[in-house]
């Protein structure tokens, strides 16, 4: 089965994209895993066990060294990352977490506004200094230009 690349070009479909049934199966699997909270603990345990053994690392390295597998992994990741992010966006607990973190940051900034105030002051001062220096430099150029013009008119060097 031929699957077009997102940019419209035709790649090597059988190697770069899991297509048809495999793709739908992968989508369904990820959707279930994201939606099912019970799976979290299971995934956590599996991941911990895998991380502790060096077998996973060796397996992954060996797999990624094979170009056809590496391409398939890239394609699978590309395909699933968007779905995972989408699912996370809809997750109320994640929203709650983000809101809590934002509130914590805002509270911290309210209690300790000095760094932000200092930052704004430095920025304003820097802009004022730049403006002042450009005005001064322009005035000096105008001084020289006026003097040169008068000397030329008077026939002086």
């Amino acid at each position: 089965m031929s699957v077009s690349e997102p940019d419209g070009s035709d790649g090597e479909p059988s190697l770069r994209r899991p297509a048809g049934l495999e793709a739908r199966l992968a989508d369904a699997l990820v959707a279930r895993l994201v939606e099912n909270r019970l799976a979290e603990a299971f995934i956590d345990q599996v991941l911990r066990a895998l991380m502790e053994s060096r077998t996973l690392e060796q397996l992954v390295i060996r797999l990624l060294e094979r170009p056809e597998v590496s391409g398939a992994v890239d394609a699978l990741v590309d395909r699933q990352v968007g779905r995972v992010l989408e699912a996370l966006e809809k997750d109320d607990s994640l929203r709650q977490l983000v809101r809590e973190q934002a509130d914590a940051y805002l509270k911290h900034l309210t209690e300790h506004p000095e760094p932000v105030q200092q930052l704004i002051q430095d920025q304003s001062r820097g802009m004022a200094q730049d403006l002042q220096e450009s005005v001064r430099a322009a005035a000096i150029d105008a001084d020289d230009a006026a003097e040169t013009w008068v000397h030329r008119k008077l026939g002086r060097s």
């Binding site: 200094q129 002042q132 220096e133 430099a137 005035a139 000096i140 001084d143 020289d144 006026a146 003097e147």
Partner: protein, 166 residues
Amino acid sequence: MTPRYAGLVTRGAARLVDMALLAVLVGGAGWLAQQFLGADAAGCAPAESWWQLRRHLCQFLPYVIPLAAVWFPVLYYVLFWATAGKTPGMALLGLRLLRSNGGKVGPVTALKRFLAVTLSMATLGLGFLMVLVTERRRTLHDLLAGTVVVYDWGDAARARAGRIGV
């Protein structure tokens, strides 16, 4: 390092800034006097006793603005030149007033220079334009008071700009 003497445009811009500030000061003083003494001098109640200070001062309201217009510029220029070596306008444009030997300007020299400025004005501005043709870019009042005006951006600004040898 040899100082660079300031030219006509920079000095003129500094003077314009100072004149604007003086206008605000004189206008502000007049407004404050009117608020304190009463808006209309003709409507001042006559003072019946010596402690009625406000009524006494109210009689002088018409003279407040002319007096401020005469004395504020004298105080402004002489004080700033003698204490800081620069007026706010000169500070903004990065200028400093020095004696012609490079020393600091004192109150007598500052007063002398202020009076000499009136002579530069009396020549219809020719005294100011002398800066274009004299050595060390000196005006008539600089020559009479023995002063020079140099560029002075301060160490930090000079280091950033890297273009002024003051």
